[in-house]
Symmetry: C2
Subunit: 394 residues, 2 copies
């Protein structure tokens, strides 16, 4: 397959090159050549399109899709109460349907790789495999019995495109024993372990009171921190904790829209984290706290909130933001061959129309500050076309 | 003309009703009937669409359209330096073309009424009249000689759809004498007078030092405040100033994306303003500080930043945000018959597809938290179709 006459290719390669008028050859599931005058059996005309790596969403709960908009503008306590009651009513069939509906919204808005956490892990793995979407799937663990899910999920993965993650809910819903078991199993199976951490001031204060340690130091105390560890939110962390996260090579999923919508009270210090060597990806969180799955919105709001928070327009640049939405997000999920358009990388590619992005004085600025999910025209995942001219082909 | 079988009509009427399965009759430039089984010569099928009032953008500088993306992620001082140099190069022809390009982007993303400020007022009035877009136009005044523009602009208006505004730049670029003259002329011609005010801490501190008064008290001292006064930004104002703004019935244009992108340092206290009787509309500001003209993004970011700033998810609700983007914005520009779908109101209406907005548990929440400008399918301004199936007809 050839992506022909690409008006702009945003490579996200090491030099962050932007190429004009080039072709891309895809062979199997890989990018095999970037050059001029390439030809092949199947050609997609990209002469009026931006071609860029697909976006990576490092935190979603697609199983909640049918609950979009059921509870907005409520304080966290009321929100949790209402949402949890509605979740309790969801059947397995509804969760599977929701996951599929959510994944379709993701594909249509430019996400090619997602980390999705909810109930019924094995069944959801099948949804992503059927759609041909790159995905990491977890069933959130709260009790020791829940951990058995992991073995089922490992068995359910058949095509290499979908992999499990072992996910502890949080320090307030999981005992230390459960979190230790998660750490052990994650190491045994070489899987990513994840936790929602330091999302609210109350959570941080409670951990400090009950464990005598800040949130990240508590995780360190039983070996949770490490290269295969994904810390979701990480808002209420101090400089010492940021230092620790960097020392252990941990990753963070930053979800600014969800954090602002739920009024989590502060902003995760991701600029400091990146300086200290933490890998930071972006995530939408669920449709009850966002309420869409449009990663382009997440890019723009990330740039805006950090400029605002640090009172400095240079605090978060468009290039940093796009890195978090592509290569850094992929790296946070342990993928080294996803997130850029370069020789030998996996062919996870989207194309955008130029609606609202003219004039094109600065391609990456326009992607971050002007584009949205409805600009996405085509989507290729693992070398296969999953959407063409906005029509999902599955 | 009949909008037929509307799936949802978001009326924004006094009861904020949402109607399902109704038709809307447009006669001349007015909404003449909302009912069932209406028929007419021209029918637009809305059975899979949300029908809502067009959005009102209370602050833009469309004349800068060709400068989109030329200067991002820079501190205000560098930004002003670069942008002003580029602006100095713009010819009259380029400003006219930019205004047209910008207005087309506005129409395509759901704005039906705009307040646009830049050079060459009379020429820009013609652009909006030719496009059939409802607009308020000003040529920014910095020196006494500039005020002559107003008479030319009044003469240039021919069809009632476009009206002038008298705009002083700011307290730091206009002398008190100039601002007094603006106040006088605005009263004489019954036109809105506008000023950029309290955008940065430095501006507030300088006014306090040089005039011995806070920004709004300074404006009050020579009679600038009043019902026909539009205060753009109004970020750095204290409770006493908010009280004054309400007392005089002033209006505010709130531009959160521009304020965050330029790191203006705080958030305009618009919730307090509304409580005190100030009319608050939303605006995108220019494509050099946003960088698109998508009012749907402005809706969502307004909701997010106020929840975040006040640490309270209830601080800014989706209904308040939609009000500011429609009826309150229209009122801020002095329009009482624009901004809602109701008998006798001007027919300024847009339709949206449901992309990214399913399931539809809450229509207004989905408009604010899930939609973007690319969802807009049709646009009707003053009873005339200006866009149909995303094709601008002019």
């Amino acid at each position: 397959m050839i992506l022909k006459n690409c008006k702009y290719i945003v490579t996200q390669d090491k030099e962050r090159r932007i190429l004009e008028g080039y072709d891309i050859r895809i062979k199997g599931n890989l990018i095999s050549e970037i050059g001029k005058d390439l030809s092949g059996d199947e050609e997609i005309d990209c002469s009026e399109k931006i071609v860029m790596p697909g976006l990576v969403n490092t935190h979603a709960h697609l199983g909640m899709h049918s609950l979009k908009g059921i509870c907005d503008d409520e304080t966290l306590f009321t929100w949790l109460d209402i949402v949890n009651k509605e979740e309790a009513k969801l059947t397995k069939e509804q969760v599977v349907k929701n996951t599929r509906d959510g994944a379709l919204e993701c594909i249509q808005s430019g996400t090619t790789c997602i980390y999705d956490s909810y109930m019924y892990g094995a069944e959801r793995i099948k949804v992503f495999e059927d759609l041909g979407m790159r995905a990491f799937v977890s069933s959130t663990v709260q009790k020791i019995e829940d951990i058995m899910h992991v073995e089922n999920m490992l068995k359910a993965c058949t095509n290499g495109l979908v992999k499990p993650i072992i996910a502890g809910h949080s320090p307030y819903r999981c005992s230390k024993e459960v979190l230790e078991k998660i750490t052990e199993l994650s190491r045994k199976h070489d899987l990513i372990r994840r936790i929602h951490i330091a999302e609210t001031k109350k959570e941080r204060d409670d951990t400090l009171k009950e464990r005598g340690l800040t949130s990240i130091k508590y995780l360190e105390s039983f070996g949770f921190l490490g290269k295969r560890c994904l810390l979701v939110h990480s808002i209420w962390v101090d400089d010492e904790e940021v230092e620790l996260m960097g020392k252990y090579g941990a990753s963070v999923s930053h979800n600014p829209i969800s954090n602002m919508k739920l009024a989590s009270g502060s902003v995760a210090p991701v600029v400091k984290m990146i300086e200290k060597g933490v890998t930071v990806g972006l995530g939408t969180d669920s449709v009850v706290s966002n309420n869409n799955l449009d990663m382009f919105e997440e890019l723009k709001v990330t740039a805006l909130i950090h400029k605002h928070h640090w009172d400095d327009p240079k605090a978060m640049t468009y290039q940093m933001v796009l890195d978090m939405g592509t290569i850094m997000g992929a790296k946070a999920l342990g993928l080294k061959d996803v997130g850029s358009i370069d020789f030998g990388m996996k062919a996870d590619i989207i194309t955008l129309d130029l609606n609202g992005m003219l004039p094109m004085n600065n391609v990456i600025s326009n992607i971050v500050y002007c584009a949205n999910g409805n600009n996405v025209v085509d989507s290729i995942i693992d070398g296969k076309i999953v959407m063409r001219e906005r029509k999902v082909l599955i």
